[in-house]
């Protein structure tokens, strides 16, 4: 099925504006996607009609809010094909999901001398929590190196993997380069030595089909705002046996069964990990984002984005001074680049002046930038609402900017 992109664009009010006197071209989708009307309306409707605290209230509004909130959990279960709704924990985002696992799984299962494996492609959220855990526990963090195209070296991964490996935490798709990692193989090899696997799906979940049962990963984390949903919300999927074995994350309301000053017993999953009043409105609106994606179909979204990426890569390659960064064979729709002789900040500011929003800098992946000996890159990332015409304007602007230093 070919998507009707103009119709889709019509559902995103934010796209219909001028920036610096030029029509906005939003190519910073890897940072966050824009929100369709259905999501915006769900937010407004919740506060207008249903606002109420969930899971406790005895009144109609509380009941309505609770049921709608839990419907999103069901939608997320289906979105990831988890076995049970109890395996879906709402978090603040990918970062909190990783921190939750680092604190609770880490507290219980990581001892001195144990090893945790991550890769050179990770963003800071999938580096720092493990560094903190390793420092606390006397465990060792090992890094899978990558090649010049930005692909994980699987042979090196096999060498790092030993009986001491307790956890492999790996990004599904790189936010800085777009590389899609062979996670099926990583998961299966890690399991052979008895290690658990966390997949960081922040960048992949909007584009790739996710089936946590087929993947057999132990944890999967993602953010709502990169899938057309609200900010400040994410999901941690964990296998039931893992979540049950892990201690609670934060103490407070909702996560308890019974509290006395002598002893507290904890609630069942998923509530054990959802202390306090949750982000109710955003959770409710997230369901609309999932429906939006499901209706379009990930395969269709992917096909459109892939065609934009291929078109952009080809057109930009002909510009003198254009240097692509990250040329993995399998990629999501992320195009990182440099212009010879120019700092990424300058390129970003000049693109912004012509109404084009891109990300510049290290993309919160400083060790990855160090690997390529770069301070940063310019990153254009495409979403379902972007068009070929927008790519043409990007190419035109990049070409004009490149000419300043590459005559």
């Amino acid at each position: 099925m070919t998507l009707d992109i103009q119709n889709i664009r019509g559902q995103f009010p934010v796209l219909d504006q001028e920036v610096n006197g030029k029509p906005l071209i939003y190519l910073d989708n890897a940072a966050t996607t824009q929100k369709p009307k259905v999501v915006l309306e769900a937010l407004s409707s919740y506060y207008t009609h249903d606002n109420s605290n969930i899971h406790r209230g005895a009144h109609t509004l509380a009941d309505r809010a609770t049921r709608t909130y839990e419907k999103t959990r069901a939608a997320v279960r289906a979105f990831l094909n988890a076995k049970e709704e109890e395996e879906i924990i709402f978090t603040k985002g990918t970062t909190e999901g990783i921190n939750l696992v680092a604190s609770t799984f880490g507290r219980k299962f990581i001892k001195e001398g144990d090893e945790i494996i991550i890769s050179n492609l990770e963003h800071h959220s999938n580096i720092v929590p493990w560094q903190m855990l390793c420092e606390e526990k006397g465990a060792i963090l090992k890094i899978i190196p990558i090649n010049d195209k930005g692909e994980i070296l699987m042979d090196e991964f096999y060498k790092l993997l030993t009986e001491k490996t307790k956890l492999v935490s790996i990004v599904h798709a790189s936010n800085a380069l777009g590389t899609i990692n062979p996670i099926e193989e990583i998961i299966s090899k890690a399991h052979q030595v008895g290690a658990k696997v966390l997949i960081d799906g922040a960048q992949s979940s909007a584009h790739l089909d996710i089936d946590v049962q087929t993947l057999d990963c132990d944890f999967f984390v993602m953010s709502a705002h990169k899938i057309y949903g609200p900010t400040g919300l994410g999901v941690l999927y964990g296998k039931r046996e893992m979540l049950e074995a892990m201690p609670p994350y934060q103490g407070g309301g909702e996560m308890i069964k019974e509290v006395t000053f002598e002893k507290t017993t904890y609630n069942e999953i998923p509530f054990k990990f959802e202390a306090g009043t949750p982000n109710i409105a955003d959770v409710i609106a997230f369901q609309k984002a999932i429906e939006f994606v499901n209706e379009l179909g990930k395969a269709n979204i992917r096909a459109h984005e892939e065609s934009l990426l291929a078109y952009a890569a080809e057109k930009l390659a002909s510009i003198k001074g254009f240097i692509p960064v990250g040329t993995a064979t399998k990629k999501v729709s992320v195009l990182s680049f440099l212009i010879n002789g120019m700092h990424p900040f300058d390129v970003g500011m000049m693109l912004d002046a012509s109404g084009i929003a891109v990300r510049t800098g290290h993309h919160c992946t400083q060790p990855l930038m160090n690997r390529f000996n770069l301070e940063g890159t310019v990153r254009a990332s495409f979403s379902v609402y972007n068009t070929k015409e927008e790519v043409d304007r990007l190419v035109e602007s990049v070409s004009k900017i490149a000419k300043l230093k590459n005559k």
Partner: protein
Amino acid sequence: MTDIKQVQEEIIDEFTILEGDRESTIFYIMELGNKLSNYPEEARLDENLIKGCQSKVWLTTEEKSGKVIFKADSNTDITKGLISLLIRVLSERSPKEIIDADLYFIEKIGMGNILGSQRSNGLAAMIKQMKLYALAYQSKLNV
């Protein structure tokens, strides 16, 4: 030689021609940056970096017959362009002139608006550092 106020007026006139068009303004600033290239290689040291800038900015000074001469460089052309404007206004002035300088041209040419908050902070850090150098020379000259 023209005073600080006159140089600022000249700059404001130059930018007026660009009619506030963001694209032309940024391209113009970059061109100015490209022309700033007399920074000595041996002074590209970490100790000469200005703290508080997102991009790298090196700044050094020397004093010649009571005037402060600034030299600066950056790893980004836009920042270099901004520095070239500051140097045009503040270099080869007496310490007192630099300390007392009211740099109203920055606001007049709409720079705050164009730079955004991050880079505006960087610009403020550059000015602060230039004034600190002037202050140091002043106390030295007064001894």
